[in-house]
């Protein structure tokens, strides 16, 4: 059994991190000066609106880093400096967060991410073989970042992966070409295997009859519905 997330961690910590001295040509990193730290207007707007949601604006640090990661592809020093500038905190403060949380990338990452869950329930059903297959198939593709991930909370579709945030499963190594093809083509990823379409396993659930659908106009579709949630009626074994 390969270690869930272990290689991941090493890469993030990077021997380089432990072994990295202060650089002589740099000075102490205090809160970035807005005059010398340009921040894209849209990013600034997102960070500032996140800050407004909380009694203490620092609560917006993680949402702000997420937003910066979307813009820059990863939490690069530049991305961190921009967030630090808008939030008026030191970049070190944000770096300590970026390196703490698994979803924040601290090295350049591809445009797409594939998290393969390799925790216990998935690995009991073949996740390690799945991970190996995905890694092999995507090895030459700098656009796809494959990561072994801890339990993603979808053991009912084990083994599974989160592909750009979309949960798909159960998957076998044989499914990998189709999965990557969908990803590269920008299509919905294996729609029939998406968690969004799965019904609850408990046969005794849905104990109340469903009433007839609402008349036209009632219950406008939400974003989740548009994304295909509840689109299927297939009950899985």
């Amino acid at each position: 059994m390969s270690g869930g997330g272990e290689g991941e961690k090493r890469m993030r910590a990077g021997q380089g991190g432990w072994d990295r001295p202060a650089e002589r040509e740099k000075r102490g990193a205090s809160i970035p000066d807005p005059a010398s730290t340009p921040v894209p207007a849209a990013l600034r707007e997102r960070i500032e609106s996140a800050m407004a949601l909380y009694p203490d604006a620092r609560s917006a640090a993680i949402p702000a880093l997420h937003a910066a990661q979307e813009v820059h592809g990863w939490c690069s020093p530049e991305a961190i400096a921009q967030v630090a500038c808008v939030m008026a905190v030191t970049p070190a403060y944000l770096d300590s967060l970026a390196t703490f949380y698994d979803m924040l990338e601290t090295a350049p990452a591809g445009r797409h991410s594939v998290y393969v869950c390799t925790n216990i329930s998935c690995s009991l059903r073949g996740a390690d073989e799945l991970l190996a297959a995905v890694e092999e198939a995507a090895a030459a593709d700098p656009d796809v970042r494959v990561r072994s991930f801890e339990c993603l909370g979808a053991c009912d579709i084990a083994p599974m992966a989160s592909v750009d945030g979309v949960y798909v499963g159960p998957l076998t190594p044989q499914d990998v070409p189709e999965l990557l093809a969908d990803l590269r083509a920008g299509r919905a990823i294996m729609p029939e295997r998406q968690l969004a379409r799965r019904l609850v396993a408990d046969q005794r659930a849905n104990s109340r009859e469903f009433p007839p659908p609402p008349p036209q106009g009632e219950g406008a579709p939400t974003s989740a519905e548009r994304d295909g949630a509840h689109a299927s009626e297939e009950r899985q074994p």
């Binding site: 059994m1 270690g3 869930g4 997330g5 272990e6 909380y54 009694p55 203490d56 620092r58 609560s59 917006a60 640090a61 993680i62 997420h66 967060l97 703490f100 949380y101 979803m103 998290y115 925790n119 216990i120 329930s121 690995s123 009991l124 059903r125 991930f149 801890e150 339990c151 993603l152 909370g153 979808a154 053991c155 009912d156 084990a158 989160s162 945030g165 979309v166 969004a196 019904l199 609850v200 396993a201 408990d202 005794r204 659930a205 849905n206 104990s207 109340r208 469903f210 609402p214 219950g219 406008a220 579709p221 939400t222 974003s223 989740a224 519905e225 994304d227 949630a229 509840h230 074994p237």
Partner: protein, 433 residues
Amino acid sequence: MSQQLLLQDIDEPGLHTLAVYERRGGYEALRKALAMTRQEVLSELEASGLRGRGGAGFQMGKKVSFLPHGAIERYLVCNADESEPGTFKDRELVQKTPHMLIEGIVIAAYAAEASRAFIYIRGEYVLQADVLDSAVAEAHAAGYLGEDILGSGHSLSLVVHRGAGAYICGEETGLLDSLEGKRGNPRLKPPFPANQGLYQGPTLINNVETLATVPAIMRMGGAEYAKLGVETSTGTKVVSVSGHVQRPGNYEIELGIPSREIIYGLAGGPPEGRAIKCWFPGGSSAPVLTAEDLDVPYDFDSLAHAGSMLGSGAIIVVDDSTPILDVAMKVAKFYRHESCGKCTPCREGTNWTVTMLERIDRGEATPMDLDIITSVCDHIIGNCLCVLGDAMAMPIASMVAKFRPELEAHMQAAHERALPPAAAPAGGGGGFA
């Protein structure tokens, strides 16, 4: 037919929208609660005997009653950082019936006199967080959130906060630090969150399922709810069953039914021709039980009595095709990865345990190493800042205790594979560090 409270409409098309939820009687419980005094609502919660569904199993009503009164800002935080391996019940609820959760939050906030609430949802749950965002917006537009809810004078703001991938943020004080924009390091307790939680204010923290159950309690009345389940574990519980079973998934059960009924009756048991080697009754943090324990009633106290725990209500079944060492390594590596690093026994102990298990797998260990593992686990349990260290030490210690012969055989076999027959055995003994 078991009572279904949480899953009764779960797959109804459009249930995640306000319109469908309301047609199903949604937010009636809130109207009922707002017509009562806060104390009356609290009494119903206390009467229900509802115990927290996140892992610790603390009585929810009691937790609410611990919040100090007075003119201070109180917070309610919903823990949707469902990260315990094997657990996926909150995901199902949030995704499919978000308004049930929101309704529960508004009622609980009313009882707790909280005017600001946050849902901390793990960042990996992208779809579910989007669903919640939409539902919160709908509830706000309909007057179930915001100022002066339904003319009651009670106000509540609700913000959906997405995490970024750290198991420790499921620990309530780690979650609070994370929500405050820090590393998710657990805090010393006391002070408990009820006194000094989010932004130093009194804070009620509950799991998704706990809060989602609140509307049902308000509809039925606490006393009626308490008739479900068994005396010290009332009500129904959504159990996530995964691993080596034929029908993995979520099942809503009345607490106190035999575990066998869940694993075999509902989830279909292990694949044909396989037998259960062990099972985790409450997520990977729970000490493992074996096939002999299948008749233990599935409730908080019975499982504790059997030497394990109900935890988050996640059953992971391992059949006889998997070596126990593989299970142990998976579990130990997970906790090493997720240890926040703040306190010594957890940070160092999880790491050490992994290296010892790896050495067993490489054939470089002796049976004495199993004693050391047990001792290291002993030194972690109860000595850490939070329970993450215990969460590794307890299942690992249980595996060493219950499967020692298998581990010794594994060790021996690996040893023979690794070394030519005449070579000297590798030492596992003491020495100066």
